[in-house]
């Protein structure tokens, strides 16, 4: 048994000390955190990947410590599908922050390192094309450094101009699902090269939230993935609860599960409907939106909002449910399976739909893991990795549901996995509605001005798009020292380039729609 296969942190530390004598490793909130010196970082990462099977780079980010004159670069690794995790931290001198690139080891390190370079100014020698990703070329400074100040005049954005065969799909285009731009080089209708350009809706959320009180942050998280606000709420409050050691009442946990699974169905309804639109079917989206409205009615009963909920609070929920909710929910659960059949009749068996999506944009399991892909996109490639099962949080270990997987990893299966996941969510909802206590508090006692103890924590949830993670660093003040959002869409978008090389223009839309990306979550 490899050390990683045990959950015993002591054994892991010993194994690590055997391989790298003198390496400091500690345990924080049940996660092994390794402090590697810059020179050794690549060896440690390689060892963890090869010997311990931590095959996915879940996240790569940095924290600025001006008073220590250093940056901490944080690698968060996961093993997929049998979940395990470890964190590697590398401390770099602030004057010359340089660290060899990991882009050869994990494909998604390419984009993640560009982000760290853009926002912190850390250099990654060996990176194939290190340049800014969320801000534009010519942006003054690196905004997530603590000493960065808004420049009096921001310089003009410089548009790169490439002519001849290049067309720009976006930033305004009917099928970009938010604001993206793809620079596409075409030969007739065949795609020669595709370069995604992102950052159009970069609002500097991670910077902004360093100046908000812990309680104030919740509504901001709604606006990352606006189709799945409940999950964003959940990832954030779970992280804070873990950091501050707050117990959530059982009834609140049940209601959280109910809210999240309803939200998952609503989000998949949009994904499926919009996907139909992408491939030219006008009707399905109107059907899916009909049921989405019903979910929104239910959500409105819970928290008064239909889309951006801010329903969760640190320690529980904002409001208790009204009595009528318990009548409306079963009615919805009873109706929904029939409605899902209806969508499937329109799309699943349709000859043209099959021709457009089968074998188009194939993503193999290994490739998906390498790119940090999670959620339905990963499961469609045959990897049974669902955080609700792999690393159960909230009450998910108590529910009976199937982790839906595909085999081939093409656009069709990504669509199909979402359809089938809606049915699984209905199962969870039924069980949760039955088991939820009808009486009891929904909010723990939490101080109005929260000051979690200094420390770090990472919490993740299985959102409709994949692993949404929240990495918090606290220095004991009433605001977070560092707020990092791990968004699935960011990693998923980086995979598109390879999926559509050599395909047709129409395939670009069919593949892009099938990976179901939310722009606001990519850019943050």
């Amino acid at each position: 048994m490899t050390p990683a296969a045990t959950r015993d942190a002591g054994a892991k530390r010993e194994a690590l000390a055997g391989a790298f004598p003198g390496l400091a490793a500690a345990e924080e909130h049940g996660v092994l955190v390794v402090d590697a010196p810059p020179g050794q970082a690549q060896d440690v990462l390689g060892y963890l990947k090869e010997a311990w099977g931590l095959n996915q780079l879940t996240d790569l980010t940095a924290v600025d410590y001006p008073e220590r004159r250093s940056f901490a670069v944080v690698y968060r690794l996961s093993r997929v599908p049998e979940y395990d995790t470890a964190v590697v931290k590398v401390s770099l001198p602030r004057a010359h922050p340089e660290l060899p690139s990991a882009a050869g080891r994990w494909a998604n390190a390419d984009w993640l390192e560009r982000e760290v370079f853009d926002l912190f100014g850390v250099n990654f020698p060996g990176h194939p094309h290190l340049r800014r990703i969320l801000t534009w070329e010519g942006f003054p400074g690196h905004p997530l450094r603590k000493d960065w100040e808004v420049a009096a005049e921001l310089s003009e954005g410089i548009e790169e101009r490439e002519e001849e065969l290049t067309i720009n799909v976006g930033p305004q285009h009917p099928s970009t699902h938010g604001v993206f731009r793809f620079k596409v080089r075409l030969d007739g209708e065949t795609i020669v090269e595709l370069d995604p350009v992102i950052g159009y809706v970069h609002r500097g959320m991670e910077k902004l939230l360093e100046s908000r009180a812990w309680h104030q942050i919740i509504p901001y998280t709604d606006r990352f993935d606006y189709l799945a606000s409940m999950f964003n709420n959940q990832a954030y409050v779970m992280a804070v609860e873990r950091l501050a050691g707050i117990e959530v009442p059982e009834r609140a946990e049940y209601l959280r599960v109910i809210a999240c699974e309803l939200n998952r169905i609503a989000s998949h309804l949009v994904a499926i409907g919009a996907y139909g639109l992408d491939v030219g079917a006008l009707t399905p989206i109107l059907y899916t939106f009909r049921e989405r409205e019903k979910i929104y009615d239910l959500m409105e009963m819970l928290c008064g909002a239909r889309m951006l909920y801010s329903y969760f609070r640190i320690g529980g929920l904002g409001y208790d449910v009204p009595e009528a909710f318990w009548d409306r929910l079963p009615a919805f659960l009873a109706e929904m399976p029939r409605r899902i059949d209806e969508y499937e009749e329109l799309l699943t068996g349709n000859e043209i739909f099959l021709a457009r999506t089968r074998g188009v944009g194939v993503l193999t399991g290994g490739h998906a893991i390498d790119h940090g892909v999670t959620g339905p996109n990963l499961r469609a490639s045959g990897v049974p990795y669902d955080l609700r099962r792999a690393d159960p949080y909230s009450l998910y270990s108590a529910f009976d549901f199937e982790v839906v997987t595909g085999e081939r990893g093409d656009s069709y299966e990504r669509y199909l996995v979402r359809v089938r996941e809606m049915r699984e969510s209905l199962k969870i909802l039924e069980q949760a509605a039955r088991a939820c206590p009808r009486e009891g508090p929904v909010l723990a006692k939490v101080p109005k001005i929260l000051k979690p103890p200094p420390g770090e924590v990472y919490a993740h949830v299985e959102s409709p798009r994949g692993e949404v993670g929240c990495y918090l660093v606290s220095d004991g003040r009433p605001q977070p020292y560092r707020f990092r959002w791990r968004s699935p869409s960011f990693n998923h978008l980086s995979v598109l380039r390879e999926l559509v090389k050599g395909a047709k223009v129409a395939d670009l839309i069919a593949v892009f729609g099938s990976i179901d990306v939310i722009g606001a979550e990519v850019d943050r």
């Binding site: 067309i167 009917p174 099928s175 030219g280 079917a281 006008l282 043209i352 457009r356 223009v505 129409a506």
Partner: protein, 327 residues
């Protein structure tokens, strides 16, 4: 100039005016009909506010489009850009001229009516290419290219399918073709031919599932990306004129045109036509768009061989009917 010329010119202008009036009226109604029917198919209501049952909605829309600013992109080839929607609309509208609504109720009883219709269909495609090229926009150009590829591929099966009708009736004139169907509608003798004609016809008028040249989710608006206001409306009207003429011709050539008991001829023609129009709208509500290469191989590898089979089948039919002594 011979003495009769003024009369010919007067007659021709009057006839064109009648065609234009008819086309505009029918098209306005068709747009309304599609929006209502699609609304029903898609679990929503559709326009119901302007006029009784929302009947005046499309008129209001047309008026709005007429008042919009007339924009020609700076880089565009101005002459072609302005001409393109006219060519498209002209091609779609002219097919009406040869559709007979009764034995004598036909604007031009052309001896080569069927040929005229095929020609006019191709003319519209030329307009799409002009629009795509003249806009000087990459999306428009891609749309125009798609239109040409589609036309070239579907013209052939379309014409070959019509040939079956021509062989059976021994005439290219629409009135004569209807008269022959007194003994039985051609859809009974030419089920394959009807299927091929209708499918290829849909491709020729860019209707779903063959709406690739303007495929919104891919090409924004395809050939009409850069068009707005009345010029855009002309493309829009042309599409519906195309829907109507395709249905009217299919009704004429395969469903016995004006023939039918009790009701007057024009009513029968309209009934049959609208049944087909409804089917076209229904298709739009339920189908989606194939990829260009799939679309082309469907034509070359399936429809074209099938239309050749149909031709052989027709020849056998004629032989058999002669032997029976019917034809």
């Amino acid at each position: 100039m011979p003495a009769g010329w003024p009369r010919v010119i007067l007659y021709a202008s009057l006839a064109s005016l009648v065609v234009l009036g008819l086309v505009s009226g029918i098209v306005l109604f068709l747009v309304y009909l599609e929006r209502r029917v699609l609304g029903r198919l898609q679990a929503r209501i559709g326009p119901n506010r302007v006029g009784p049952w929302g009947l005046l909605q499309t008129t209001a829309d047309a008026l709005k489009l007429l008042t919009k600013e007339d924009i020609v992109p700076a880089e565009a080839d101005r002459i072609l850009f302005v001409l393109a929607p006219l060519v498209v609309f002209f091609g779609a509208a002219m097919a009406f001229a040869v559709v007979p609504a009764g034995p004598r109720l036909v604007l031009v009883d052309l001896g080569v009516g069927v040929l005229f219709v095929v020609g006019m269909g191709s003319l519209a495609m030329l307009g799409y290419l002009m629009a795509g090229w003249a806009s000087h926009s990459k999306y428009s150009l891609l749309g125009g290219m798609r239109a040409v590829a589609q036309l070239v591929s579907y013209e052939l099966p379309l014409t070959l399918a019509l040939l079956g009708v021509v062989i059976l009736s021994g005439s290219l004139a629409a009135t004569r073709i209807v008269e022959v169907q007194r003994h039985g509608w051609f859809i009974l003798l030419q089920p394959l031919g009807f299927f091929i004609y209708f499918t290829a016809g849909l491709a020729e008028i860019n209707r779903s599932p063959f709406d690739l040249p303007e495929g919104e989710s891919e090409l924004v608006g395809g050939y009409h990306t850069e068009y707005s206001g009345m010029r855009w409306a002309l493309f829009f009207l042309a599409e519906y004129a195309g829907v109507f003429s395709l249905s009217a011709l299919a009704a004429t050539l395969y469903l016995g045109g004006w023939l039918g008991p009790w009701l007057p001829g024009p009513v029968w023609l309209l009934l049959k036509t609208f049944a087909l129009v409804f089917a076209i709208i229904w298709l739009r509500g339920t189908w989606l768009r194939p990829r260009l290469d799939q679309l082309l191989s469907f034509s070359w590898k399936f429809l074209l061989p099938l239309s050749l089979v149909n031709l052989a089948f027709t020849a056998a039919e004629v032989y058999f009917l002669r032997w029976l002594g019917v034809a």
